[in-house]
Symmetry: C2
Subunit: 232 residues, 2 copies
């Protein structure tokens, strides 16, 4: 089963320009081929190709599923990117496969990385959506400074995962409310700074520990992603 | 905190030859340095370096912890290695960080990969143990043919994760017994063959599904690793 991104209107769909080229040039797709298309926003549809131009491929849809495999919770992870981007890219792929709704890159005091190739990250998300047959493409936000982010995100369940034993922290497993919305902040290799943790606590974030282990940044983030998927 | 592998006898320890060279040549360690050492079998000790030769570094131990952060369950994952070894290596690292006891590489009917660089894999395990401050080094077994493996592993909780809806499968979350021993088989990109699944069922393996998603091999394995850690 081949999945493509496209725009869906009623009973017809048009693949995006990039996907259209991929379909006709790389895969040598033909009129009459049966393929699947998603809008990345919950719709998964099956259609028959009824028009092929150089930059556009159109379909007549024969089956439309809305809210395809929608999860009963929402997860937004804000993460200070690792120095080694391979680790971040692996996180993006795995999180998309298992389930994540939004990813924000955080510029934290101890962050070593000050820039992100969003384009490349977006491609990884898209590719993971297609490979794992999802109908939701996670939203991705560019690097934002920690203090700015802290003040702009009002959610009910806001957590900051950190390792500083001077602050009160709860075990995430104990304070989980299934089927809820979560925002979880994951710090850089050197952890969040004391000031950052204080600022988060002042802004309605609860400190959490993701377990006893000393986890790498991307492992801590994956622990939250896999764990919430497991209990929901 | 720097952690090294070594042999521990009573109140003294000797780093392995490789770790000794690393300590003296790469890190330029000195007599009197305070470092940590593990035997990879549950002991985490703190010691003072009291002897440095070209191939051996010896310590007097000042603090010894046995069964350091021992998990309340045992997990053995037998996995058909992916074609792309990066994916396997990432699995090995993450599984070691989160918790795994034994890894076997399975040669399955649909496996594309017929060989494994065990040496390289072993280094990844060791490095993950050191980085995440563990005292248990997972045991790793070379590629074994599926039918041979099926017949040699008697455990109470034996599972085969597969996607073939023609066979009865249980949701792993529903049949988990916390604080137990698990053996979980994870198939190759093309899944286990019908014959393999039948053979496993005949040999006391229970078929499981790791969720609705279409997961890559290493993601399925990680789902089991993170999930069991989360519920135990």
């Amino acid at each position: 089963m081949k999945l493509f991104f496209g725009n869906i209107h009623g009973n017809s769909a048009e693949l995006t320009e990039e996907e259209s080229k991929h379909f006709s040039k790389v895969l040598r797709g033909k009129m009459g081929d049966e393929i699947h298309v998603t809008d990345g926003n919950g719709i998964l549809a099956k259609g028959i190709v009824d028009q092929i131009n150089s930059k556009s491929v159109a379909l007549e849809l024969i089956e439309i599923q809305k809210n395809f495999e929608q999860r009963p919770y929402k997860l937004h992870v804000a993460i200070a990117p690792t120095k080694n981007m391979d680790r971040m890219e692996f996180f993006l792929e795995k999180a998309t496969e298992i389930g994540i709704d939004e990813i924000t890159f955080l510029q934290s005091f101890h962050s070593e990385r000050k820039n992100i190739n969003l384009n490349r990250c977006e491609k990884i998300l898209q590719s993971a959506v297609k490979q794992s047959l999802k109908a939701y493409l996670p939203k991705m936000n560019d690097l934002v400074k920690f203090p700015e982010f802290i003040k702009m995100n009002p959610t009910k369940n806001q957590f900051i995962a950190h390792c500083d034993a001077n602050f009160d922290r709860k075990d995430i497993k104990e304070i989980l409310q299934p089927q809820s919305d979560y925002l979880i902040l994951i710090g850089p290799e050197g952890d969040f700074s004391k000031d950052e943790i204080e600022l988060a606590y002042q802004n309605n974030f609860t400190g959490i520990s993701l377990g006893n282990q000393r986890l790498r940044t991307e492992t801590a983030a994956l622990n939250a992603v896999f764990g919430l998927n497991w209990v929901n």
